[in-house]
């Protein structure tokens, strides 16, 4: 039995630029069987975190051509958590979804090699990088009217809900969420496994369903326009002074003291 939200419509809602999330869906007919949890993991293809980002000469964005791309590290962590749930027999199926250009399929294949069962690719053309906006999980939860637990550093199952420890500015906060729910991953949640060659081979046989945003009647006309992107200001050379008096004088001159 399908849950209230049509699966296709659900996917159509994920149209914004950042996907960090791990999402649980629950079949209505099997309310009491936790082992039938299905997990939807958003994985996004972004510029590899080790690459030195360069701004384009025309300041319209960052250079993406010929630059190494890979799965967003937070998506790797989300995937790992999903796989661990499956290994603990708390989840029965993991579906990896990515909205992006054709190359996003490589990212889905990596997710499949990590342990996802099947993938969904929604083709979305146009530029997209990791904007560090931290909004997709939260927006998804709001649109679905599901509870959310963001910046999760620990997720444990307790009876029919999840106990999630969140990393917040003041320290750690523990929340309880009923299912289905949206969880977003913090760096400390786990250390993702590397895909091994045999798993990469097996992943080639797993299915990736392909869709276009138009299939779901979603309008992708942007409502935001990036006006310009600039490098941070170049660091100025320091000045050496010969005495404390000179130091104090210079600090006063610059209005710092």
């Amino acid at each position: 039995m399908w849950p209230i939200f049509d699966y296709g419509r659900f996917v159509s809602i994920i149209s914004s630029s950042d996907v960090y999330g791990v999402v649980w869906m629950r079949s209505l007919a099997q309310l009491h069987k936790m082992a039938n949890l299905r997990v939807l993991v958003g994985v996004k293809r972004v510029i590899d975190y080790a690459v030195k980002i360069r701004v384009k000469p025309d300041n319209s964005g960052v250079v993406t051509d010929g630059v190494k791309h890979s799965m967003n590290p937070f998506c790797e962590i989300a995937m790992e958590e999903a796989v661990r749930l499956k290994e603990k027999k708390l989840a029965k199926e993991i579906i990896a979804v990515s909205c992006g250009p054709a190359q996003a399929q490589e990212t889905i294949r990596t997710a499949l090699a990590m342990g996802a069962d099947r993938g969904i690719h929604v083709e979305v053309t146009g530029k997209s990088i990791d904007g560090d906006n931290n909004q997709t999980g939260q927006m998804t939860a709001a649109l679905l009217d599901w509870p959310q637990a963001t910046f999760a550093s620990e997720v444990t199952k307790e009876n029919d809900h999840l106990k999630v420890v969140r990393e917040i500015d003041g320290g750690l906060e523990t929340v309880k969420v009923t299912l289905p729910a949206v969880i977003t991953a913090d760096l400390r949640l786990n250390e993702p496994r590397y895909a091994t060659l045999p798993n990469i081979m097996k992943a080639k046989k797993k299915k990736i369903a392909k869709h276009k945003a138009a299939d779901f009647g979603v309008d992708l006309t942007p409502t935001l326009e990036v006006v310009g992107v600039e490098d941070p200001p170049v660091r100025q050379a320091g000045q050496k002074v010969e005495s404390t008096e000179e130091l104090v004088a210079k600090l006063k001159d610059s209005g710092v003291v």
Binding site: A50, T110, E191, Y194, A195, T196, I200
Partner: protein, 490 residues
């Protein structure tokens, strides 16, 4: 600064005139202005420095030899820039010292005759990855962790692991090895081709340009002449490496033994049984105590083996069972296993921190790392004799070793202000090396010759072989400007 000079004097081999001053120490660059200008033009104004702090940083590594700064440091951003620098230095007879991550242990980056230090870390691209052929080419600025992170989606990795996050080209230059060598080999077995800039600026590829085959019988093996040459024959600007599949399953194990002999015998039997063990590391009781204290572990303070198995789940279980049996035969106890990544990591970080753990036994002390390698069958007697030798001295010398290769290190902990201790360490070290040489071993398993072992190299090779090496050095670097005074004294 007196103890440093004393240390320096002791660590210079006999037969070589001892320097009585450190060139460049607090002094400005001794190269002419026009030379510095030419270098600036070759690498760009933002890629050159004559500041003393920068030069001093580049004149030392992780050994405790005194820093010997070059006269100028440059950061070339391409092979062509390196070639231009080399041409300038060749025309002016100025020494060149290639610099990667500065993580060496034999003072390979020191500049006893000053000159130009080439910091190659701005050349940091991974080039030409061929996952289906299991090979990749990297520039000197790529470290092994950076490469393995780059490769994480491909299911491949580069397993040579010397501990430090070293530059891969630097690892090639020192023929690095490490904990994984027992199964995956050292740099010698895993470098397929290298791009090298010769002292006169000529750019060559040791196996031919862009060639990357698993094997070849074509011509002289130039690739392996440059592997381990420690910057004395040319500057490595690219290396093509052999990759392996990431292991499906990794399991770690620890086992304690009543004696050094029992632990080493277990190693020997494991190797002789043909078990494809991935890591087999020996820690003596002193080192075990240090690692316990440093890492918050609570293993028995006794000779211990740390093991790691790679393979499929079934494979790994079979290997572990076989080794557990062998250990039991040798009165091993407390055989513990861990397959959980977090636990395994804790285990191995304790081993990788052995250097710091040893030093932490006596805060404020310095460590002198020794490094010998012998045939595995002779390992028990060499380690036992070395341990006895150390125990008779006034020093602590925890021992850690890649015993699967017959290679071990004793970390001699000395008070840097006590000349008697320095002398004692020196004597112990020499005896250890000669003990190894006497049983068909080598004076350095993986750290290299650098500055301190040149006389031992001569003894190890014998006159005839040593002369061939000298001839090679002369042929490839006739002006002796490539990292002078290292490996082969000229």
């Amino acid at each position: 600064m007196n103890f440093l000079r004393l240390v320096g004097a002791l660590y210079r081999p006999t037969g070589v005139i001892s320097r009585t001053y450190c060139p460049g120490a607090t002094e400005s660059c001794r190269l002419s202005d026009s030379l510095v200008e030419a270098l600036s033009a070759a690498v760009g104004l933002k890629n050159i420095s004559t500041s003393y702090a920068v030069r001093e940083q580049h004149g030392k590594d992780e050994s405790y030899h005194e820093p010997q700064p070059a006269d100028v440091v440059v950061w070339p951003e391409s092979t062509n820039a390196v070639s231009k620098v080399a041409t300038i230095c060749y025309d002016n007879n100025v020494p060149m010292i290639p610099f990667g991550t500065g993580t060496g242990l034999e003072s390979g980056v020191s500049a006893p005759r000053g000159g130009v230090c080439l910091n190659l870390t701005k050349m940091d691209q991974v080039l030409d990855l061929h996952p289906e052929d299991f090979d990749v080419s990297v520039q000197p600025g790529v470290t092994r962790n950076a490469l393995n992170s780059y490769l994480r989606d491909t299911g491949l990795w580069f397993p040579v692991d010397p501990g430090a996050d070293a530059s891969l080209c630097g690892m090639a230059a020192t023929s690095a090895s490490g904990t994984n060598a027992v199964r995956y080999g050292t740099m010698r077995e895993n470098v397929m081709n290298m791009e090298v800039v010769l002292p006169d600026g000529t750019i060559i590829n040791t196996a031919g340009k862009d060639r990357r085959t698993k094997k070849t019988a074509a011509g002289y093996n130039l690739t392996n002449i440059y592997v381990g040459s420690e910057g004395t024959l040319g500057i490595i600007t690219k290396t093509t490496l052999r990759l392996y599949g990431i292991p499906e399953t990794i399991m770690a194990a620890v086992c304690s033994f009543p004696s050094v002999q029992a632990a080493v015998d277990t190693t020997v039997m494991t190797m002789q049984s043909g078990i494809p063990i991935a890591r087999i590391e020996f820690l003596d009781d002193v080192m075990m105590d240090a690692c316990n204290k440093f890492g918050g572990l609570d293993y028995p303070v006794a000779p211990t083996l740390f093991l790691e198995f790679h393979g499929s789940e079934k494979n790994v279980a079979d290997q572990a069972e076989a080794v557990a049996e062998i250990a039991q035969m040798n009165e091993g106890s407390d055989f513990q296993m861990a397959s959980d990544p977090a636990q395994r990591k804790k285990l191995w970080s304790a081993r990788h921190n052995a250097w710091y753990a040893g030093l932490a036994l006596k805060p404020g002390s310095k460590g002198c790392a020794t490094d010998v390698c012998v045939p595995i069958s002779r390992l028990p007697e060499v380690i036992v004799e070395t341990k006895e030798d150390i125990s008779k001295s006034s020093l602590i010398g925890p021992i850690v070793g890649h015993v699967g290769d017959g290679n071990f290190h004793s970390l001699l902990i000395i008070d840097p202000d006590d000349p008697a201790q320095i002398e004692e360490a020196h004597v112990l070290h020499e005896r250890m090396a000669r003990r190894a040489l006497a049983v068909g071993g080598t004076c350095t398993g993986e750290h290299g010759i650098g500055l301190g072992k040149r006389h031992l190299l001569r003894e190890e090779m014998g006159e005839g072989t040593f002369n061939v090496m000298k001839a090679l050095k002369h042929a490839l670097d006739p002006k002796n400007i490539m990292n002078p005074e290292k490996v082969i004294p000229v």
